[in-house]
């Protein structure tokens, strides 16, 4: 029958493993470094939205992104349930490689000086951007969900309440859940004091993979619990699936369950991706290596360090080839 996967099942490493790496790296960081990593993540996200058209154009122009997009689209030329399973396998492999690359760099003092490291970062991060386009975003004509949603909607018909619950897949989005995970522990702190408090409490990563460092506004400003907190998404999902299932003819039930399970797993993988990349380990590792590399580059040129900072922070990794004097690596 149907089951509900949790986002944590799709992380490339357990939360305990992530915590060990983050704690070891944080032990040698100053409070200013920790505050910078927190603030630079927010800068990078805000800038990415502000420069969306330019960032999207860079994605479309990148041959590495294009190659990965073709790979993903060719998977989804298959029947959607089989395609979902194939994609999740490819996604897990990609995430494991991404995690290994940055976990290794976090544990090394010299990796950020190695051009071959940045070549791998550019290739890996651009491939990662393709997954962001089709898994995490929905601003493109294609996504890993579209065929599934169309077929699910056919089963569900006019029951908009059931459709809403099923599309939520029993999983709350990290961008709303962060408004409910804090009490008063960080309320009204400025960025520096916030970073110090996170370190004092060793509050690096929560069991759901969210790092409080990357929820600065939710931790310091929000004064009321988010409305979504009152809904039990898992329960709503289970009820909606069971209800639609009952209305189906016997021979169609298995297809509906298969579609639900595939959609739900992809949705949980999407939630895992958003947590890991924007609120969790990858955000920390990425901004940490940006910080280290910027320092090294500033020894020879402040202008180069600034250019590096902007391009690396806004996901425009292809731009780094010029800044870092690298040859562009075809996928």
């Amino acid at each position: 029958m149907f089951r509900i996967s949790r986002p944590q099942e799709f992380f490339p490493a357990s939360v305990d493993e992530q915590l060990a790496l983050i704690s070891a790296a944080a032990a040698v960081l100053s409070d200013e470094d920790v505050a910078w990593i927190s603030e630079n993540r927010d800068f990078s996200e805000a800038e990415r939205y502000r420069q969306k058209d330019e960032v999207d154009a860079a994605l479309v122009a990148s041959p590495i992104v294009s190659a990965e997009r073709q790979r993903i689209e060719s998977i989804f030329a298959e029947e959607p349930v089989r395609a979902g399973a194939l994609y999740l396998r490819a996604y897990a492999k990609h995430m494991a490689s991404l995690h290994d690359l940055f976990a290794t760099a976090m544990q090394s003092d010299t990796e950020v000086l190695d051009p071959s490291f940045w070549k791998r970062v550019i290739t890996m991060a651009d491939a990662d951007n393709a997954h962001a386009m089709y898994l995490s975003s929905d601003n493109w004509p294609f996504s890993v969900f579209h065929k599934l949603i169309d077929e699910l909607a056919g089963f569900i018909g006019d029951d908009q309440q059931a459709l809403t619950a099923i599309l939520l897949a029993g999983v709350q989005d990290a961008r709303t859940s962060v408004f409910n995970i804090f009490g008063n522990e960080y309320r009204s702190l400025d960025r520096q004091a916030f970073a110090v408090r996170v370190r004092e409490r060793a509050d690096w990563i929560r069991s759901d993979g969210v790092m409080p460092l990357f929820a600065f506004k939710a931790a310091t400003e929000s004064g009321r619990p988010h409305a979504a907190a009152k809904y039990d998404f898992s329960k709503q999902y289970e009820i909606a699936v069971a209800q639609i299932l009952l209305s189906q003819k016997q021979r169609e039930r298995q297809r509906f369950v298969d579609l639900c399970n595939t959609y739900q797993q992809l949705y949980a993988a999407r939630a895992a991706y958003d947590i890991y990349e924007y609120f969790g380990f990858y955000a920390f590792a990425r901004h940490l290596v940006i910080r280290r590399a910027m320092r090294e580059l500033a020894n020879s040129s402040d202008a180069r360090a600034r250019s590096f900072h902007y391009s690396a922070s806004t996901y425009q990794f292809a731009e780094l080839t010029q800044i870092m004097n690298l040859e562009y690596q075809e996928a």
């Binding site: 939205y49 961008r175 709303t176 409305a227 979504a228």
Partner: protein, 129 residues
């Protein structure tokens, strides 16, 4: 899809200003607040309709205060759709032109069930063609 509110109002709101895709069904009335930059989302007052190119994580508190959300871009699983679905808030996405067609201060009905935004103020005959 039929909306019981729209079909029982005797045509009080019939001038469709923009159309998009139903992300979360529902039918509400409110005053438009155009927010072009998510960092300006704090300008939205309780009960207004958030009209924006696309929401982002910065927009979440404003989305909570709004009665409905209308976006230029996005599809069934865009940020606006997911957050509104969680909040049980009417949402129309992918209109392509809501931020250029609507204006802050306009009184509108957002019938997300039908995927339309309608004017609640009668349009003079000279302008309605």
């Amino acid at each position: 899809m039929n909306c019981p509110i729209c079909t029982s109002d005797n045509g009080a709101a019939k001038n469709i200003l923009t159309r998009g895709r139903t992300a979360v069904p529902g039918c509400v009335e409110g005053t438009v607040r155009i927010v072009l930059d998510p960092r300006d989302a704090d300008t939205l007052a309780d009960g207004e309709v958030l009209v924006t190119p696309m929401t982002d994580p910065e927009s979440v508190p404003a989305m909570e205060r709004s009665v409905a959300v209308v976006t230029d871009r996005g599809g069934m699983l865009c940020h606006a759709a997911i957050v509104c679905r969680e909040m049980h808030k009417p949402c129309v996405v992918g209109t392509a032109n809501a931020t250029s067609t609507l204006e802050t201060g306009m009184r509108v009905r957002v019938c997300a069930t039908r995927g339309v935004v309608m004017s609640l103020v009668a349009v003079p005959a000279t302008l309605s063609a």
